[in-house]
C-alpha cells in the first residue's frame, strides 16, 4: 500500500475519532412536536433523590394527562405500557403503578383523563443517568416524561435483585440466575457438534478431493460402515439426550407456568366537578422572538376566582411568576432545563370571576422553543400546539385544563 495513502487514511480516521464524544441523550428532542405536545402530558413529577448508590431505590411519581386532542390522524390510543426511560438497564424497575394497579402488563388509557403514576427504580450501573418516566404507546412509540440526571455511585458488581418462587426456591440474583445451567446445556451440545464435525474433518476437510471423487462417479468410496455407525450413534444419542433432559428437568422443576401476557385494567382519576373551560381563539408563533402568543377564551366554572398560573407543553413549564401559588408548585430539585426563564405572561392577569367568560392573551416566550426543537411544529401536517394549563384560586387550589389549536408562524417582528 502507498505509504502516503496509509498515513493520510490513518490521520483522517484519527481526526474523526478525536471529536467523538459519548452519546448521552436518548432522543427526547428528536420526536415530532405533535407527539410531545398533544399526547401524554406529565406534571407534578418528582424524583425522590438526586444521588443514590448501587442497589438503592428512587421513586418517580406524578400525574399523567392523556390529551383529548390526540393526533388521531396518525394513530388511535389503544395499548400503552408504563416504562422507565433511561439509557438501558442502568436502573431496573422494582415496581410501576398507574393508580393502585401494578403495571407489569400493558393497559388502555382514555382520552382526556388523568392518572397517577409511580415508578420505583433500583440503581444498577454507576454513572450519571438521565431518567424519565415513559409511556410506550402502540403505534406511536415511546413518549418521554420529564427527565432528571441521577448520579449512581458504587460498584456494578454489587448489584443484586433477589426473588423467591412460590415453590420456595430462592433466586439470589435475577441477573445471574441459572447461567451455569445455560452454559452447561450449550456446552454439551457444542461438544457433540464438534465431535460430529471432527469425525468428518479428522484428516483435514478434504473438500476438493471429495469433489473430485464425485466428479468421477465413485461416490461409494466416500463412506464406510464406521461412518454409518457414527451417524446412527449420533442420532440415538441426540434423541436420548433430548428425552433425558426433558424428563430430568420436569422432575427437578415440577411446577412451572406459562408466560403472563394479559392486559390489565386501570381506572382514571375521577373528573373534577370544578372546571375551567379554555377555547383557543388565535395562535401565533413568532419565529424571531421564539414566542408562542395565544388568544384564549376562558370560562371559569369553579365557585372561586381563578388566575392562570402555568402553561406546560412537551414537559416545558412556563410559569406565571406573578402568581405565588404557581411558583410554589415547582420542587426545589426540579430539572432546570425544563423550567423556562422568562415564564408566562398573561394579559389581563387579574382573577376571572366564577361564571365569567373572558378573553385573555398568553405569551410563552423562551429560547427553549428552539433548543427543544418544538418550533418545528410549523412543519407538521396540522401545525397545531397542545398544552395543559393550571389555574389557581386564591387558596392555591389548582384546576387543570387543556388547550390546543393551530399556531401560525410569523417570520418578522410584529
Amino acid at each position: 500500500m502507498n505509504p502516503r495513502l496509509l498515513v493520510s487514511s490513518v490521520s483522517i480516521l484519527a481526526l474523526l475519532l478525536a471529536g467523538a464524544t459519548p452519546a448521552i441523550a436518548h432522543g427526547e428532542r428528536n420526536q415530532e412536536p405533535f407527539l410531545r405536545m398533544r399526547t401524554a402530558h406529565w406534571y407534578d413529577v418528582t424524583w425522590s433523590a438526586d444521588q443514590v448508590k448501587v442497589n438503592d431505590e428512587i421513586e418517580i411519581r406524578g400525574r399523567l394527562h392523556i390529551f383529548s386532542d390526540w393526533p388521531k390522524h396518525l394513530f388511535e390510543l389503544k395499548t400503552v405500557y408504563l416504562n422507565l426511560g433511561a439509557n438501558g438497564p442502568v436502573f431496573v424497575k422494582s415496581a410501576t403503578y398507574l393508580g393502585d394497579t401494578p403495571m407489569m402488563q400493558s393497559t388502555h388509557l382514555e382520552y382526556g383523563k388523568e392518572y397517577e403514576f409511580r415508578i420505583v427504580a433500583k440503581a444498577r450501573t454507576p454513572g450519571r443517568h438521565h431518567v424519565h418516566p415513559m409511556l410506550n404507546v402502540g403505534g406511536a412509540g415511546p413518549l418521554l416524561g420529564p427527565g432528571k440526571w441521577i448520579e449512581v455511585t458504587g460498584n456494578a458488581a454489587d448489584f443484586v435483585f433477589p426473588l423467591k418462587t412460590l415453590d420456595g426456591i430462592t433466586i439470589p440474583n435475577l441477573e445471574t440466575w441459572q447461567l451455569g445451567n445455560v452454559f452447561r446445556v450449550h456446552a454439551y451440545w457444542l461438544v457433540l457438534a464438534f465431535a460430529w464435525l471432527g469425525w468428518w474433518f479428522r484428516g483435514g476437510p478434504s473438500l476438493l478431493s471429495r469433489f473430485r471423487v464425485l466428479e468421477t462417479g465413485r461416490e461409494e468410496t466416500l463412506f464406510n460402515n464406521a461412518d454409518r455407525i457414527a451417524a446412527a450413534a449420533l442420532v440415538v444419542l441426540a434423541l436420548f439426550s433430548v428425552a433425558y433432559g426433558m424428563i430430568s428437568t420436569n422432575s427437578k422443576y415440577p411446577r412451572t407456568s406459562a408466560l403472563q401476557g394479559g392486559r390489565v385494567r386501570v381506572f382514571p382519576l375521577p373528573d373534577s366537578p370544578d372546571q375551567v373551560i379554555v377555547r383557543h381563539q388565535k395562535g401565533v408563533y413568532q419565529v424571531p422572538g421564539r414566542s408562542l402568543q395565544l388568544t384564549l377564551k376562558v370560562t371559569n366554572r369553579t365557585p372561586r376566582p381563578v388566575r392562570l398560573g402555568e402553561f406546560t407543553a412537551a414537559n416545558l413549564r412556563f410559569v406565571n411568576r406573578a402568581l405565588p401559588a404557581a411558583v410554589a408548585g415547582i420542587p426545589a430539585n426540579y430539572p432546570e432545563d425544563l423550567l423556562t426563564r422568562t415564564g408566562l405572561v398573561v394579559t389581563p392577569d387579574d382573577p376571572i370571576a366564577p361564571g365569567e367568560t373572558r378573553e385573555i392573551k398568553v405569551e410563552a416566550a423562551d429560547a427553549a422553543w428552539e433548543t427543544e426543537r418544538l418550533a418545528s411544529l410549523m412543519g407538521n401536517p396540522d401545525s397545531s400546539y397542545g398544552a395543559v394549563l393550571f389555574f389557581f384560586d386564591s387558596q392555591g387550589k389548582r384546576t387543570v385544563s387543556e388547550v390546543s389549536g393551530p399556531a401560525i408562524p410569523v417570520f418578522t417582528t410584529l
Binding site: Y81, N83, L84, A86, G88, P89, F91, V92, K93, P102, M104, S106, A121, N136, L163, K164, T165, L166, D167, L174, W177, Q178, L179, N181, V182, V185, H186, W189, L190, L192, A193, L197, W200, G204, P205, L207, L208, S209, R212, L214, T221, L222, F223, A231, A232, L234, V235, L239, V242, G245, T249, N250, Y253, R255, T256, S257, A258, L259, Q260, G261
Partner: protein
C-alpha cells in the same frame, strides 16, 4: 481416487480450509441476519420464549440455512455436515452478538438474552441424511425432528425461567419478572407475541401441538430450502484452466 502429487497436496489443504472458512462465514452471517430479521425477538428475549409461537416459528424459519447448507455439502462433497455446520455458524454469531452487543454495549444481563440451541435438530438432520442418503426421507424424518425436538431440547435451559413467582401482587414467571425488571425502552410489554391465538384450547400444554405442527411444516420448508440450496450451488461453471494441476483431467 486420483491422488494429487505431494507438492500440490499442501496447496489443496490450504484451499480446503479457505473454502470452508468462506462458506462458514457466508452461511453464518446470512443465517444470523435472516434469523434476527424474522424471528429475532423470540430468540433474543427470555420473556418471548412462549409455548406457542417460539416452538412454532423459530425452528420453522431456522431450518432454511441448515437445509441450504446440507444441499451444498451433500451435492458437491457428499458430506453429511451441512446442518450442523450452519447451526454452528449461527451459534457463533449469536454468542458473539450477545457478548459484544447485548452485554458489552447495552448491558442487558444474560438471563434476559440467552440464546436457544438448534444443535440437536441439526445433528439429527445430518445423521438421518447419511443413514438414508436420501433428501426426501431426510425431509420427512429429519425435517420433522428438527422442529419437534427444539422445545424439549431447550427446556432444561428454559424451565428455571418458568418457575412461578408472585410479583407486585400478580402471578408471573421468572422470565416475566426478568423482562419486566431490566429496562428495555424500545421493547414494551405489548409487543410480545406470546400465547396469542386459539391454540391454547388444545390441551394443557400447547407446546406439544406447536412443536408437532412446526415439525409438519418443517418437512415442507426443508424441501423448499434444500431445492433452493441445490439451485443456488449450481452456478455456471467456467473451464478449469488448472484442471491438469488438480489431477482432474488431461
Amino acid at each position: 481416487m486420483a491422488r494429487p502429487k505431494p507438492a500440490s497436496r499442501n496447496f489443496e489443504r490450504i484451499a480446503d480450509w479457505m473454502l470452508l472458512a468462506v462458506m462458514f462465514w457466508t452461511i453464518a452471517v446470512s443465517f444470523k441476519n435472516t434469523e434476527v430479521l424474522t424471528v429475532g425477538d423470540w430468540e433474543m428475549w427470555v420473556d418471548w420464549k412462549d409455548r406457542e409461537w417460539w416452538p412454532l416459528l423459530y425452528p420453522l424459519i431456522c431450518i432454511s440455512f441448515p437445509a441450504i447448507s446440507q444441499a451444498i455439502f451433500w451435492k458437491h462433497f457428499r458430506l453429511p455436515i451441512g446442518a450442523t455446520f450452519a447451526v454452528m455458524g449461527l451459534m457463533l454469531t449469536t454468542w458473539t452478538s450477545l457478548f459484544l452487543g447485548h452485554i458489552g454495549w447495552t448491558r442487558f444481563p444474560l438471563t434476559l438474552v440467552w440464546g436457544a440451541t438448534l444443535i440437536p435438530g441439526a445433528l439429527l438432520l445430518d445423521g438421518i441424511l447419511l443413514l438414508t442418503a436420501n433428501p426426501v426421507v431426510t425431509a420427512i424424518a429429519g425435517g420433522a425432528l428438527f422442529s419437534i425436538v427444539f422445545y424439549p431440547a431447550n427446556w432444561p435451559i428454559l424451565a428455571p425461567f418458568r418457575l412461578v413467582v408472585e410479583h407486585l401482587g400478580q402471578l408471573a414467571t421468572v422470565a416475566d419478572v426478568v423482562g419486566y425488571t431490566f429496562t428495555r425502552t424500545s421493547m414494551p410489554e405489548y409487543l410480545r407475541i406470546i400465547e396469542r391465538g386459539t391454540l391454547r384450547t388444545f390441551g394443557e400444554n400447547p407446546a406439544v401441538v406447536s412443536a408437532l405442527f412446526s415439525g409438519f411444516l418443517s418437512v415442507i420448508m426443508y424441501g423448499i430450502w434444500f431445492t433452493i440450496g441445490l439451485k443456488l450451488s449450481n452456478l455456471p461453471r467456467m473451464k478449469n484452466a488448472y484442471s491438469r494441476y488438480m489431477g482432474l483431467a488431461a
